[in-house]
């Protein structure tokens, strides 16, 4: 009961659970579901026609102003050539913004960085999370403690903890930093991971990104694993199935929808990477050569090179075409390999 209450979300009605379930079994609802749903108590509803809209009004206003209108507007922006944000004028309509963005060296750098980040971190974090979740669900003592610890990065401020990572990896005139110390121990030579060579910076960025996204993935996978009905395991054990075969043939297919969900959200999230990079390398990401596509959008919008909402819009739309394409490919691939029950 306590567990149920704390979990909050599952049925979410806490200790009234069984009571409510009983309530739901109403004879009328059961035997007359159609009638009841369609015309249930319409006399009460007759006067509600406008009231419903009144309750929705705040949400509709906010969504209209800050989600729907901007969505349309961003497309318009992206085709307005030579838009000047001060005078709010533009010269013409066309694809110049896209062409400019696609030829901008900074954008290409950002594109490359983002793709590398995606290709490295998504498989790595998903695989690692799977490994950890499987390990986690195979133990009893300390399980909750580990779970709690692993989840910790989720509730931390990306920017703040990024600073800690920067210190750990940074090489300064007076100190090589902790990570370099470790490298020394293993006989390597020190590298400045924050302001040094490209691969070193990329390594830190990937490392930090994985560190940040792990809690979510571990949590999702652990609950997916916990959701597998033990009946299957027992059945397999009776048949003398080995541990690895059991994992490959039972566990993996059973959690494949969740795994797939993580891959998709992982791709989307990694493509939108930005604040991790800022946390490590500072706001001037172009100078550090570590910009991401989202970073490029924001820089175009606001930072030193800012004031170009049209370029920003074009870049944002390019980004989301990429994300959409990748998601579609994912969905196609998944049709073959994901088992939905």
């Amino acid at each position: 009961m306590t567990r149920l209450r704390d979990s909050g979300f599952h049925l979410k009605l806490t200790d009234h659970n069984s009571y409510m379930q009983k309530l739901c079994k109403s004879d009328i609802c059961r035997l007359f579901p159609d009638l009841y749903k369609r015309f249930g108590m319409e006399s009460l509803m007759e006067k509600q026609n406008n009231k419903g809209w009144l309750y929705l009004l705040p949400a509709i206003l906010f969504l209209g102003a800050f989600l729907i209108y901007p969505l349309i507007d961003v497309f318009i922006y992206s085709f307005e050539e030579g838009y000047n944000s001060a005078s709010q004028t533009f010269y013409g309509i066309g694809g110049y913004n896209y062409s400019y963005v696609l030829h901008d060296a900074y954008f290409l750098q950002a594109l490359k960085n983002t793709f590398i980040l995606v290709i490295i971190t998504v498989p790595l974090s998903t695989g690692l999370a799977l490994l950890i979740s499987v390990a986690l669900s195979s133990i009893k003592p300390l399980q909750e403690l580990f779970q709690t610890v692993f989840f910790l990065p989720y509730v931390t401020n990306t920017l703040a903890v990024g600073l800690v990572f920067m210190i750990l990896f940074k090489k300064t005139p007076y100190s090589d930093g902790l990570v370099n110390l470790l490298i020394h121990c293993f006989g390597g030579s020190s590298v400045d991971f924050i302001e040094g060579p490209y691969w070193a910076k990329m390594f830190v960025l990937c490392f930090y990104t994985v560190w940040v996204v792990m809690p979510f993935k571990i949590l999702i996978l652990t609950s997916a694993l916990a959701g597998v009905n033990p009946v299957y395991y027992n059945a397999a054990r009776v048949d003398g199935t080995g541990r690895i075969r059991m994992f490959l043939k039972i566990t993996l297919p059973m959690i494949s929808p969740m795994l797939f969900y993580l891959v998709i959200t992982g791709f989307i999230g990694a493509f939108k990477a930005y604040s991790d990079a800022v946390a490590l390398f500072g706001t001037n990401l172009n100078a550090a050569g570590m910009n991401t596509i989202v970073g490029y959008v924001y820089d175009m919008l606001y930072r030193d090179s800012g004031g170009y909402p049209s370029y920003a819009s074009a870049a944002a739309i390019i980004l989301f075409s990429i994300v959409l394409t990748i998601t579609c490919i994912n969905l196609l691939v998944s049709k073959k390999h994901v088992h939905y029950h």
């Binding site: 009234h16 739901c24 109403s26 004879d27 009638l35 369609r38 006399s43 009460l44 007759e46």
Partner: protein, 369 residues
């Protein structure tokens, strides 16, 4: 408070558009009835017969498509539930799970506005009174989830009574209770109703329940009222085949028969002499208690087995004309000492035998010598 239902009709429009539109559903069809003041009335019928809809129409949760509802002389048809002054007990009691018993019972009182507004003390007095009436005064600080089904039921009744309704409505009040509690609670409902003398309408699909506590029962089927009357009257004089089948446990035995030259034939045997009935094929219903064991009886059945029930014996037999797999007849335990062989012969009590038109199911009355 007398309740008058006049030409009450409720139609649910069919769903869908164009060709895919389904037919309208008539949940209640031209219901006319006057519920006398202070009576307990049971609306009885199988699932989907429109009894719950009728209750909701009286309550005001739904509006009738046609017809009117009067409380005494007042036309309440256009009024919302709260303005009608009705108390309703829902099938699943609909107690607010987060409020304790006292808060649940007080809830309706807190809605009162203007001149009706009650002071804290008045509310408390009313709650205590209502709780006392249903004997739950000792449970006031419990949550609904901590109560048994019977206790929840009482709380729901107290909540319905606390605002001193003109009419009390109960929707399947006993269906969520176990068998033993059901007997207890129906007595309890009867007691409370008689004590408060509030006109009460309740809905049930259980004929036992309806027969045992109602002053009047209304049998419904497919939105149409089949018969209204005192329970015993309806049982003794069913208006049609449906009512005869629906009332009584064990259920009535049905046969295909025919009337020929003033006799009722079941199979090849003439079992009853009838007067004033033209020759025709009929459906025959015989109550289980309408059989008398008689060695020279005119109705011969193939004996399956006797089932001893203590005071009575239920004789299970078969007959080719029977519409049910078996015939059940209930006879005195003493009278069946000589039961043997594979046939059994009965005489029939004419007042327990009903004839129905084969096409319409309407009762055909007859007289015997």
């Amino acid at each position: 408070m007398k309740i008058v239902l006049s030409h009450l009709t409720k139609t649910f429009p069919g769903r869908g558009r164009g060709n895919r539109k389904k037919e309208d559903v008539i949940a209640v069809n031209d219901f006319n009835f006057e519920i006398p003041d202070g009576k307990l009335v049971g609306l009885l019928g199988p699932s989907g017969c429109g009894k719950s809809t009728t209750l909701h129409l009286i309550c005001g949760l739904q509006n009738p498509t046609e017809g009117q509802i009067f409380f005494d002389e007042e036309d309440v048809t256009p009024l919302t539930p709260q303005k009608r002054g009705v108390g309703m007990v829902f099938q699943n009691y609909a107690l607010y799970p987060h409020l304790n018993v006292e808060q649940n019972i007080r809830f309706p009182l807190e809605n009162l506005k203007g001149s009706d507004k009650l002071s804290r003390e008045e509310m408390h007095a009313r709650v205590t009174e209502a709780a006392g009436l249903v004997q739950i005064d000792n449970l006031l600080d419990r949550k609904p989830s901590e109560l048994s089904g019977g206790q929840q039921q009482r709380v729901a009744i107290a909540r319905a009574l606390v605002k001193l309704p003109r009419v009390l409505l109960l929707d399947e009040p006993l269906s969520n209770l176990d068998a033993r509690l059901r007997l207890q609670t129906r007595e309890e409902i009867r007691r409370i109703q008689q004590k408060t003398a509030i006109t009460t309408v309740f809905v049930t699909h259980d004929q036992d329940e309806a027969m045992s506590i109602s002053d009047l029962i209304v049998v419904m089927k497919d939105g149409l009222v089949q018969q209204i009357g005192k329970p015993q009257e309806v049982y003794d004089n069913p208006a049609n085949l449906f009512v005869a089948k629906f009332l009584g446990t064990p259920p009535i035995n049905l046969f295909k028969g025919r009337v020929e030259k003033g006799s009722l034939f079941l199979g090849e045997e003439a079992v009853l002499k009838l007067k004033q009935v033209p020759d025709q094929p009929v459906h025959v219903g015989i109550r289980p208690e309408g059989f008398i064991l008689a060695e020279n009886g005119s109705f011969t059945c193939r004996l399956s087995r006797p089932e001893v029930m203590g005071r009575d014996v239920s004789i299970v037999s078969t007959h080719p004309a029977s519409l049910n797999p078996v015939i059940r007849s209930i006879v005195d335990a003493e009278s069946c000492g000589h039961l043997s062989g594979d046939t059994v012969r009965f005489m029939l009590k004419p007042q327990k035998v009903f004839l129905f038109d084969q096409a319409t199911g309407q009762r055909i009355s007859f007289e015997t010598d």
